[in-house]
Amino acid sequence: MTGAAIVGIGASPQGKLPGSSALSLAVDAFTAALADSGLSKHEVDGLLTFPGTTSPEGPLNYLRLGEELGLDPRITGSMSMGGGTAGALIQTAVAAIEAGQAATVACVFGDAARTGGSRFSRASGWGDTWDLWGMYGAAANSALVASRHMAVHGTTSEQLAEVAVACRYHASLNPRAVMRTPITIADHQASRWIVEPLHLLDCCLISDGGVCVIVTSLDRAKDGPHPAVRIAGMGQAYTNRTLGNPDWLTMPHQKVALDAAYRGAGVGARDVDVAQLYDNFTISVLLWLEHGGFCGPGEGGSFVEGGRIRLGGELPVNTGGGNLSESYMEGWLHVVEGVQQIRGEADQRQVPGAEVCLVTGRGMSLNCANAMILTPAA
């Protein structure tokens, strides 16, 4: 168990926000989270940031945002791990708090990815970049994961559709969500190919928005206006290799991160009431379910059938709508939704009696994985 808790969550408006910038969205998120926490700005002595894809200052984002907010933190910095960054920053905040380097850390992200000229479609690879073969964008990595999963395990596109349909249904209940019109498996099947075997509706959104999560010690967390949410367990694992890693597409590092989070919290898959699983593409949810021990290896496709991951099902997943339908905040809103579930403040989306929430993140070319277990602090 860690000695830290989340006491503030905040998000800017989400979606297509002309005139916004990475900075303006990060500022909006920070002020919203600060108000949610009931803390004053001067109590925030740590600032950790994700520059996202459109911050002109890039890795110096912590300096820019710190200046804008008038903060003089005891610990600060920026990390860029794509969809793995939210979890990595929050876990770094926990470590800093436990080490006595800071009392209260704001983890902040803003990105005008939709209107600000983000380039998610660039090719990967450092030396011989994959554009030599026309291999571009994030969808293609996951298409190759899905293609292999289908060939080895018999997973079907209709099973992937179950993930998209569940996320959209959850988004329909979420006023923060960008895409709220319910879809069917047939809608998914009729949507155009992006990189076969992935259809358009297998893919996450691209969104403008900002999110902030404020972490403090358990002692300080008692006094807030909302129930504090303990980061009971946490884990990270990485591979810095893609083609050079024989297991790259199966991402066993995810299981390492999950096992560490479970171990730290003293829980297992059967204890999880609700899960926020990083869904850049539908196939990712299947891998998380398998690595998380909710089903056996290769069984993710059959697991998600029949509404099992919808609200009311055995394991509600991505109850806010996820990257697929809520907003593409690179996993930051997965944390926010997890906190709301444990607070019991998720309104129509509330999983009754939720006391254990799993939150996962993953970024770059499947390289950076993390997991956290959230529980009530009291």
């Binding site: 011989d128 030599l132 291999m135």
Partner: protein, 140 residues
């Protein structure tokens, strides 16, 4: 209107001291990758040091060019106008008999007909003047 393929040049490799032997070999119909002089690993991507044992010595070994499709997909989305005339096109990861996996294309067949596990062999495709890349075709 999107630019036509003729208007947008296809991406070209950045050839440097480290990878030049690979590209020189491709131009004469050989697939060469580095074999570590210390642990024997045939590595890809091309690198200055062995990612297994950190050995500095390596030799550019001629490989069989035979392998199997590890995973495969079909691009319908155009991310770079240079490929606008090629969609739908295949992108596959091919696992060579010697171990390394390459990002590549399986060409000369319906792109959606390529299956995981298919046996393939290398072909050398000129994408710029004197510049070749390895692609694959079904092994006859």
């Amino acid at each position: 209107m999107n630019a036509t393929p003729d208007q947008v040049a296809r991406p070209q490799p950045v050839i440097n001291d480290m990878n030049a032997p690979h590209y020189r070999a491709l131009a004469v119909g050989e697939l060469r990758l580095q074999r570590c002089g210390q642990c024997g690993l045939v590595r890809y991507p091309i690198a200055s040091i062995c990612p297994n044992c950190l050995g500095r010595e390596s030799v550019w070994e001629v490989l069989s060019g035979r392998g199997a499709v590890y995973s495969t997909g079909v691009f319908h989305q155009v991310y770079n106008a240079a490929f606008a005339g090629q969609v739908p096109y295949n992108v596959s990861i091919v696992e060579l008999e010697e171990g390394p996996r390459l990002m590549t294309n399986v060409v000369g067949v319906d792109p959606a007909s390529v299956k995981v596990g298919d046996a393939v062999r290398v072909v050398f495709t000129e994408i710029g003047e004197g510049t070749y890349i390895p692609q694959f075709v079904p092994a006859a």
